[in-house]
Symmetry: none
Subunit: 213 residues, 4 copies
Amino acid sequence: MGISERKEREKERRRQEIISAAEHVFFRNGFEKTTMEMIAEQAELSKATLYLYFKSKEELYFAIHLRGEAILLEMMENAVNRAPSTEEKILSLLKTIADFKKRYPDYFEVIEYFHINRALLKSGFEKIEESFKRERKNLKRWSDLIEQGKREGLVREDLDPVKSIIVIWLQFTGFLQRFYLICDELKSEFGVEEDELLEEAYKLIMNGILRRE
Amino acid sequence: MGISERKEREKERRRQEIISAAEHVFFRNGFEKTTMEMIAEQAELSKATLYLYFKSKEELYFAIHLRGEAILLEMMENAVNRAPSTEEKILSLLKTIADFKKRYPDYFEVIEYFHINRALLKSGFEKIEESFKRERKNLKRWSDLIEQGKREGLVREDLDPVKSIIVIWLQFTGFLQRFYLICDELKSEFGVEEDELLEEAYKLIMNGILRRE
Amino acid sequence: MGISERKEREKERRRQEIISAAEHVFFRNGFEKTTMEMIAEQAELSKATLYLYFKSKEELYFAIHLRGEAILLEMMENAVNRAPSTEEKILSLLKTIADFKKRYPDYFEVIEYFHINRALLKSGFEKIEESFKRERKNLKRWSDLIEQGKREGLVREDLDPVKSIIVIWLQFTGFLQRFYLICDELKSEFGVEEDELLEEAYKLIMNGILRRE
Amino acid sequence: MGISERKEREKERRRQEIISAAEHVFFRNGFEKTTMEMIAEQAELSKATLYLYFKSKEELYFAIHLRGEAILLEMMENAVNRAPSTEEKILSLLKTIADFKKRYPDYFEVIEYFHINRALLKSGFEKIEESFKRERKNLKRWSDLIEQGKREGLVREDLDPVKSIIVIWLQFTGFLQRFYLICDELKSEFGVEEDELLEEAYKLIMNGILRRE
DNA sequence: GATGAATGAGATTTCATTCAT
DNA sequence: TATGAATGAAATCTCATTCAT
């Protein structure tokens, strides 16, 4: 009983080792240019062993997605819980996404990948759907913040909680992705610092939802 | 003189034919899953001939990018010129981007591709830089609209014209891309219609920049 | 003593279970397309355990061959014993082979496999030789039937007992194998029913050996 | 005009060269154990080039089948035409098949392969069906020989031309295949020479169809 | 200018088999 | 005895790109 437990733990550890090795390679080269050969080498295992733990290259990539998703969700949960007021909750949601993108740019990219290529994923990949479901459930939860803000007289009356949170979520993640792609150029071309621009983004979004104060 | 001119014209015509054939295939299958073979077939030419006109698959894809870019820029130019007021100019800018995404989703995607994969592009690809330069130049021009809005007392005092237009541009294009990826789910999950959400997005953004109305 | 005996019995039982599981899978998919994994699953054992009982995939397949061989030999033995006259003994030999092919087409195929691929079998496979030896010994026995038939004035004088029985054996098994491969086409193309053709085959062979009656 | 013709000829020549190289390897190792790598090496071409001429390993193997089939059909045609009498035509048909098996044992085996594995062939393989159709058409033609024999009072009245020729064809090809698999053992075990056994086979088959002589 | 032919360099995935426990 | 884990060694097929004509 202790034995089978230990075995189980060890198997999970190896799984995690493989994922870590895969991250190393995927993060450097992207999905397409990474080969199972490269991952095997990094993991110091044979290619065949990889297939013992993951049915396909895609599934291995998806394991990384799950890691990233878990981190992001936890960060957002914490952020919302810690913030004292509704306004700060909403703002800290934005800041947390930005923080995630900054601290884990590669996870952010993997999550992007599955969004963008959802249509092309091999059939029989229901796990990704579960992930999207979780995302939608979270959106609903956050829409409660807008709702609450409206009740408090904080948020504009004319906003629809669900619609607006969807727009903000899509906008802001889109902004972050694009922004860091050209961050350096923006600096050299416009003299705009990273943090300044983030602040401008927070300001625009919050202005967009809050009532005249 | 007339002869070489005609030759030139014919060469350009063939180039355009190839690009059109390539569009046909790329739009159906995406960059990775499209083969030069497929394009050659569509163009009724040999693969080798393709290489007479384009140095690589990527460069051919880039020619499509240029077409898309030209269309988008012209649409925006027209939109701004036609709108009578500053506020309407800004709003019509947003609506034009949305219109472009809707009418030319494939061009939109190609433009995305080059933004996202810029880092991985084979070296010796300066043309993409020129394209990005044009984009930045346009951003600067549109920042004048914000500037003008501020002068008119229309736009919030605390906004920086350049920063805010950058944010808005990145946000809104990001929103559009993501939105259409999940448009159907949003409808079935939240009962949200496409146009409603777009309107909510316009509202949020305009609210974000305009002063008390 | 009783213990080791029981152990022995249990081991043999497990061996037979494995063979049965292997049959299930091999019969469905053929030798090449069957994997040890599939057999292990069917047997509810691990792949490694399979190798405890059989040195290789081929040897496991051979165990099936032996089962088939045993059945066939017993059927023939019975047939010859039951038939009252020499002529009927010979004819029942043919009918028994046809019966075996019909009732156990999969065993027939396995036996085929080892005949056809004998040359390619991995070295160190002497058991197959023993099996072939048994086959040849049987041929000799049956040649006695021809001999006897000659003595009885039943069989043509000019036939050599050994040679003719070899020819008949090889011919008739070959006929059966080929016949059932194209049985359906024969019906639809020539309107020939299975039993009619078998009867024609018996007639031709018996005509070939019997004297004018 | 002459140019494109020459090109065509050269392409066909190369195709034939590839087939010849493939024969070399397939004949040594059989279908399964032959790899495209091996054939490429033998042909002094790259693997990719092989796929320029043949869609798959199977199709390349099938090209060999076609060669063998053509040879066999021509040999049989000649044999029947040359033989002066009906009886000799029938006998020479048998002798020709035996001759083919002896001179081209590898082609014989390839033809076998496609008969045996017909069911497993990848879909979209209609060419093999055409080949089988040709075979059935030939059977019909040869059944005319039996018919003619009956008219001449040469062949037994109770035989059905079509059925009997089918039986003879299936029997005799089956006999040849099996016989050469164990030819050596037969010699050492029974002291039976190859030619003797063939003669016995001819005798048995001809006895089976001819009337009292 | 146009192309048919050729290929280098993989890519993913499979599987019989072994071995430490 | 039983097995989970690991792997070496392929195998088929693909594709962007080049080059002689």
